[in-house]
Symmetry: C2
Subunit: 275 residues, 2 copies
Amino acid sequence: MTLRRPTIGVFDSGFGGLTVLKVLLEIIPDADYIYFGDTARLPYGSKSVDTVARYAVEAAHYLESHGAELLVIACNTATALAFDQITAAARVPVIGVVDPGAEAAASVSKNKRIVVVGTEATVASHAYRKALESRGLAAREKACPLLVPLVEEGWIEHAVTEEIVRIYLCEAFADGFHDADVLVLGCTHYPLLKPVLRRVAPAHVTIVDSAESTARAVAGRIGKLLNRGENAQEERRSLPRLKFFATDSVDKFRRLGERFLGHPIEKVQHVDLKE
Amino acid sequence: MTLRRPTIGVFDSGFGGLTVLKVLLEIIPDADYIYFGDTARLPYGSKSVDTVARYAVEAAHYLESHGAELLVIACNTATALAFDQITAAARVPVIGVVDPGAEAAASVSKNKRIVVVGTEATVASHAYRKALESRGLAAREKACPLLVPLVEEGWIEHAVTEEIVRIYLCEAFADGFHDADVLVLGCTHYPLLKPVLRRVAPAHVTIVDSAESTARAVAGRIGKLLNRGENAQEERRSLPRLKFFATDSVDKFRRLGERFLGHPIEKVQHVDLKE
């Protein structure tokens, strides 16, 4: 019996998707990974449906052409705006971040009232609200456009960040959502802000990290591709193969990416999608 | 004698260049304008030289092909990183924002010590430092990556914005630059923050708005294209013709752009540079 190590393609507009990859590496170490960060065109969060869909489909094709057998759209904006277009364009299975996040929220909420924080574009798409309402939950979505720049500035534990989070959450939990008992992190940058979000959010609130939920959904799906066998020559290679592609500076990707992935990044290859 | 209304092409990664256009409209009303905002790929401020140069040259060609007789690079990042490439690629004269800003700073500074605030990429290029040092001035450059997102969030007069500006300026005016007497706004978003910058900057500091300095440099250059005559049939058309191109959503351009331009924006045309 041969052992198959599947190749999982992970896509994001930039660095945030590395928080998904981080969890994937922990829970599915017996796969290889290729990651595509569209850093020359980030952020997607403030852009229109048409533009985001075009970019995301290009990225999906790029990952497929490099051997991805499963695509993880590790970007809330791309999932929220273009999941159907990506699925239609791809030849391999596609998993986005919205459904796993909504599913996790549904499973932990007692009073069925959820607050979702995300980028401007994710919130405007109402993808989370639709996914939550279809599961019988009420949702308040709140755009927090300053949080991504704060994370990228490295102000993870800064008084200003805490103040901005307080302003955003105060608005999010107002007007009928005081009793919401789940906060969904609808942007893959936000896991880096979990400590401050935990301090500021009401004590009764459970935080659902859609990056984590998505990795677990991938683990469920990937079982079919994994084929653990006796002939374990491959098995001895304990670490997954990792390859990174970025459309802007590879140096910057390496430098900033480490903060999201939690360990050093090697082998970043520059991609020019116009070539 | 015929009257010539020259067409001036103004280019920015997004909305900031509209602060330059605003001053141009005030001081050169007898020209027509075409504005190109590369909103599908903004911001440039966090991207690499190669990527910014490629984008900027594409935008320059687009404006030339639509009749621009003079190009204004109303974006500090594009000027700082790619002025030479744009000038080499263009067939018409090109004016950037860095030299006019440096010139204005040199003319008002008494002690020849200047603080420049801008995006990460503008600061990393040291374009302002080089332009100021060549005029015999010492420069401290300070990247302020949160200011553009704050302006776009609309938090112009917000306590958090004032606090962030205080942190940035405190670092900028430290270590030998306490006595700097000019603050150059090296990003075309920053004119919207002038009131808060004025409150926070040391009282003896003069603020130089590179958007304003650039418009004045254009006025000096454009004299040759303008040909005021007796036969003033055209002259009766008191308002300049304005045309806007944007690579992302035209609705968003209209909505957000008004904040920068200070009056309503009509006639925005979507451009797909890959077409």
